[in-house]
Symmetry: C2
Subunit: 230 residues, 2 copies
């Protein structure tokens, strides 16, 4: 019997790729997204699209309330920074940081995994193009896994729970190449921090710039850009 | 200036005591409860009472959706075990266990702490009368703290975040004595897994039995029992 895995799915390029890796490794994927008041609502539509396209056994969206805490451009009305250079992106933790986001997301994944009897969680974090988020670093993931193994029945019973981070050491271009090899349709993903009403990418925020460079490093055009350029 | 602390408040005896300890240690308490579909709704009323009585600077209730995962008597319609002996209580992880509950709660506390600029979180877990929950053990708390310090800006900036567990080594009677010395009104707390419609304790579930023994070890009657016995 295939093993179950909980896969965190944001609707972005990275998590769509992580889902494809989980499937390629013969896990039964249970996909989970979060509605945390993000301004870029198209993300959730794309997460749902990926769950359907990649045949998740089950897909759920959890409503959480990070917005009530304030503190980030992704959930408030502060301006998203645009046209920053790579040096500027690396210089500081960006204001688009959501407090403790991956900690909260992984905690829900852990709760669902425990109910499903799953011992595997996939998250598409990436330490190379990580835009300065502390909770995308390998040492954070390692510490989370150790904590999770003490938090749950699985840990008490001596079974090991694994947090899979198949993208953590990859450059954006390598992530894209990996996903393309597994048939991921990147035209049905969304990475932009400030998309237009129809879901089109702004092409100027940090996330759009990193994504576009990833495709161009492979000599490709982003199919999402192509779709919206007509 | 007093330091801010996030205090997890359930409406039970332990967390009311933890809040009193935080105040006694001169923290400005920011109290946080969770509506996770628990059947014992009176808990949330009591949490609100304690936040008011103990002058929390702010009190918020976060809606979370553990119920959609199933898996526990506290959020489903399975029967709450009653009249169990201490040996039976210790024998296994109880069905009243909510998956990854403290992991999820602490993750929200961490998010709020980060927004508040707080470096201190109080949680009333207890390893002595812990009813077999894996996420009440000291080694879980230690691992959580290590993870939290890697997850956040505070960690990146080298500031230490502390998870305070002032009750972790105390017997129930010692917790009660501590709280009474600090003026906690235990008639406005609720510990029962299966209270009556008016909030009265069943006096037969594990939690009621442990609580009642705590008071009786001090030669006292529980003021909550007294209130409902008339």
């Amino acid at each position: 019997m295939a093993r179950r895995a909980v896969v965190l799915l944001s609707g972005g390029l990275d998590s769509a790729t992580a889902l494809a890796v989980a499937r390629a490794e013969k896990f039964e994927p249970y996909a989970m997204s979060f509605d945390y008041g993000q301004r870029h609502r198209v993300e959730l539509q794309r997460a749902s699209d990926q769950a359907r396209l990649q045949k998740a056994v089950k897909y759920i969206t959890v409503n959480i309330n990070l917005r009530q805490f304030g503190g980030s451009a992704l959930t408030s009305d502060a301006a998203v920074p645009k046209d920053r250079t790579e040096g500027e992106m690396e210089a500081e933790i960006p204001i688009t940081y959501v407090p403790a986001r991956n900690t909260v997301f992984l905690s829900y994944a852990l709760a669902w995994a425990e109910v499903l009897g799953a011992l595997d969680i996939f998250i598409g974090v990436n330490a190379v193009d990580y835009s300065g988020y502390p909770d995308c670093r390998p040492e954070f993931i390692t510490a989370y896994e150790e904590m999770a193994n003490l938090a749950t029945r699985a840990g008490v019973e001596g079974k090991g729970l694994t947090i899979h981070t198949p993208l953590i050491d990859l450059k954006k271009s390598e992530i894209i190449a990996l996903g393309l090899a597994k048939g991921v349709d990147y035209s049905l993903t969304s990475s932009c921090y400030d998309p237009s009403a129809d879901g089109g990418p702004c092409r100027r925020c940090d996330s759009c710039q990193i994504r576009e460079k990833g495709f161009s490093d492979l000599g490709l055009q982003d199919p999402l850009v192509k779709k919206f350029e007509g």
